[in-house]
């Protein structure tokens, strides 16, 4: 039988290789919070095809537009669309901006306008933290209760943190490279990933539990190894269907949910990996550590 667990150092190294750059970026640059969190204004408009948006810069925007926003940022998106971001503006200013754009460029299509007050943003930050803590506690308690041993719960949660770190890191890097922002949907994706992650982990743990009952004399390492081998094809096949769905959403889906789908995709990939290659090896390391302590 192929011994997976002999390579557990390699699995941990792969995780580190993915997490460390993200972590570095996270510490150095952080995430780019969207106006959902910070408060502010976002205005998305489509300009006529006659305008070459690729070469547009803030300085070229009409003076009235520049004057209306403080902290103005310009992002050019596909379909000749631009997104203007800045501090919160009121509805009258928004009209002024639209008028100025219209006089400068001709027929424009206002697509989206969002103005979030700072109060709402702060509330969302608190809500996000509460939701994450609640989700993590629910999962730990459930797994610990279900498997009657603390180590299963702890390892499942560690694998979950692994996944959270991966996604945060990926989005921190995406923020630096592509200006991707994290918004309320990102939080949703993060929470969904938690459930993904633990979903797969439970399936492996379940098999470990079953094998232990059926073969009480086998050493733990062999049991674990057998459980991984037996669940691997299921785990991969299932993840492939989810990844197919999410990948088509990322590549072909609507613009408004592209990064949401991307976060879910990253979550699905790392969730699959971490169940087999993080949670289970951790379980073994836990046992090793216990033995060494006992000695």
């Amino acid at each position: 039988m192929f011994n997976f667990m002999r390579f557990r150092i390699v699995f941990f190294l792969i995780s580190a290789l993915v997490i460390l750059p993200g972590l570095y970026s996270l510490v150095r640059y952080g995430l780019r919070p969207a106006i959902d969190f910070t408060g502010g204004t976002l205005l998305e408009v489509r300009l006529p095809v006659t305008v070459n948006t690729d070469e547009l810069s803030i300085e070229e925007l009409p003076a009235a537009v520049q004057a209306s926003f403080s902290d103005l940022r310009l992002q050019v998106t596909p379909n000749n669309q631009i997104i203007l971001r800045g501090k919160t503006i009121d509805d009258q200013t928004r009209q002024k901006v639209l008028l100025a754009l219209e006089t400068e460029y001709g027929q424009i299509v206002p697509l989206r306008f969002e103005a979030v007050g700072p109060v709402i943003g702060q509330e969302l930050v608190i809500r996000t933290l509460v939701a994450m803590i609640l989700a993590a506690s629910i999962i730990t308690l459930y797994v610990a209760r279900q498997f009657k041993e603390l180590k299963y719960g702890v390892c499942a949660v560690l694998a979950m943190f692994h996944d959270v770190l991966v996604i945060l890191g990926v989005f921190s890097l995406l923020g630096v490279v592509a200006g991707v922002e994290v918004d309320v949907l990102f939080v949703t994706a993060l929470l969904t990933t938690l459930s993904f992650s633990v979903h797969d982990t439970i399936v492996v743990f379940d098999r470990i539990r079953e094998l232990r009952i059926n073969h009480p004399r086998l050493p733990f390492e062999q049991v674990i190894n057998a459980a991984v081998l037996q669940t691997l094809s299921r785990s991969l096949n299932n993840s492939i269907t989810i990844i197919i769905m999410l990948l088509s959403l990322v590549l072909l889906g609507g613009d408004t949910i592209r990064w949401f789908a991307m976060a879910l995709l990253a979550g699905a990939v790392t969730g699959t990996y971490s169940s087999t290659f993080t949670a289970v090896p951790l379980l073994l390391s836990w046992e090793d550590l216990k033995k060494r302590m006992a000695r």
Partner: protein, 474 residues
């Protein structure tokens, strides 16, 4: 065997009902394929019958969220600094009713005006679907209510002769009733009371000292006349002065129902407790953005779905094909369920639906892999199948419980203020939750029945029957 057929018939009936609900209203379809034109009409049959004397004509439609059909969402904060603590809830309710009425008058259908309290903040959440001119709508919503008492003017004889079209013009009532100088500022509050003798609901008005003085002057001089109450220049009540009222405590009676009286009291309080309103959050989505997003998302979903189907058939052969059939039913049930429950469909919601399709096959995969294991050990096919289902159930149960708990956290069904309240996130959570529940049914019941019916090794038939009727393990 009988039980399998029973379950199968149940699935069949359920699917027909779901199909009737899920299909969109009849619409002609025409497209070109293989060099030929196809023209036909598909859609749900119209149900319109009478059952036990009740007309039964269910109309099911998918509600679209603001991010799909376009529109405006605003979160408003009501400034309560000038309102006494005990009156704040009444004042918020009053503001809600006034805004809802204005929005209705403006002709926005399916609008939502909700109140919420966030610590010491009193808020209103207003959703106006289809509104693309936010500035007007915002003025409509943000204006403080203006309540005035207006007295019937002396040339009412001329007004009595006015034609119907004149009555319908907005200025008619403004001409017919002249301002008295008494406004909502002088009204303390309006409450629903019950007449001690007739037990009919009435509305009690309480005035401030200055209001008491003004009100007594007006009522003394104008017994017998109508003293109309206007909100936003629109009459909401036309009570007659029966006698002079000197103590500032008036009672309006006039055959209201309890609901009607309550509604009126709320509206009057909007004038009595005017609260300035401030915009906390505003989101406007153009309908074009929503339509583009949804079209592309659905397209992406269909492509993904096709690939998942190919993958399942390629990997599991005929079993995979049966799972795909079950997946088709899954889609049907899901859409039907959305319509019955009234799930508001948002773009993230659709993503949740698609994600749940990817997850729906999970129970099938778990079971099929288990079956493979059992077959490998050398058990006969039928037993392997039943064991596969039995053994996989543990994992399926545990794994899905966690996802259900997380989706409940996202939906926030108890409306807890420290959890998420965003409609987008709730939409996603809702579709995820429904997806898991329905997928459990299709994955466990439907696929199992299909497998039992269509995938039997003949030699094992007897064993199955024995197993279904008797003990679980053979």
């Amino acid at each position: 065997m009988l039980r399998v057929w029973q379950t199968f018939s149940f699935i069949l009936v359920l699917s027909v009902i779901a199909a009737v609900i899920a299909l969109p209203p009849a619409r002609p379809i025409s497209f070109q394929a293989l060099g030929r034109d196809f023209n036909f009409t598909i859609g749900a049959p119209v149900i319109d019958t009478t059952i036990l004397g009740q007309r039964f004509n269910p109309q099911f439609s998918l509600k679209q969220g603001l991010d799909i059909q376009g529109g405006m969402q605003v979160v408003l904060r009501a400034d309560m600094t000038k309102v006494a603590e005990s009156d704040r809830e009444t004042a918020l309710q009053a503001a809600q009713s006034v805004i809802a009425r204005r929005v209705d008058l403006y002709g926005i259908s399916e609008s939502v005006v909700q109140t919420s309290q966030q610590g010491n903040d009193y808020r209103l959440l207003v959703e106006l679907p289809g509104v693309e001119e936010p500035e007007q709508a915002l003025q409509l919503v943000g204006r403080t209510a203006l309540l005035e008492f207006r007295l019937e003017s002396s040339n009412s004889a001329a007004l009595a002769n006015a034609t119907a079209s004149a009555i319908l013009s907005p200025s008619y009532f403004l001409d017919a009733f002249q301002p008295t100088g008494l406004t909502g500022q002088e009204l303390r509050r309006a409450t629903v009371q019950f007449d001690p003798q007739t037990n009919e609901p009435t509305i009690g008005l309480e005035f401030s000292p200055k209001g008491t003085e003004l009100f007594s002057q007006i009522t003394q001089a104008n017994v017998g006349k109508v003293l109309a109450i206007f909100i936003d220049e629109f009459p909401v009540a036309l009570p007659q002065i029966n006698q002079p009222i000197l103590d500032g405590q008036a009672v309006m009676s006039g055959g209201f129902g309890v609901d009607e009286a309550q509604q009126l009291a709320i509206q009057l309080n909007a004038g009595a407790l005017p609260v300035p309103i401030e915009v906390l959050e505003q989101r406007v989505v153009g309908a074009s953005l929503g339509q583009e997003s949804i079209n592309r998302t659905i397209q992406a979903g269909l492509i993904g779905l096709g690939l998942v189907m190919i993958f399942m058939i390629f990997n599991y052969g005929f079993k995979g094909f049966l799972a795909v059939m079950a997946l088709g039913l899954y889609g049907l049930y899901t859409v039907a369920m959305y319509k019955v429950i009234g799930v508001t469909l948002t773009v993230p919601g659709i993503a949740g639906l698609l994600l749940s399709i990817g997850m729906a096959v999970d129970s099938n995969i778990l079971i099929f892999e288990r079956m493979k294991d059992e077959l490998r050990v050398g058990r006969p096919f039928a037993i392997a199948m039943e064991k596969g289902f039995g053994r996989a159930w543990n994992s399926i149960k545990d794994a899905n419980t966690v996802t259900i708990l997380i989706s409940l956290l996202l939906i926030n069904p108890l409306n807890l203020s420290f959890l998420n309240t965003s409609g987008l996130v709730r939409g996603f959570g809702m579709t995820l939750l429904l997806g898991i529940l329905i997928s459990l049914f299709t994955g466990l019941v439907v696929t199992r029945t299909f497998l039992r019916l269509f995938l039997q090794a003949p030699s094992a038939k007897n064993i199955i029957e024995r197993e279904i009727s008797g003990g679980k393990d053979v």
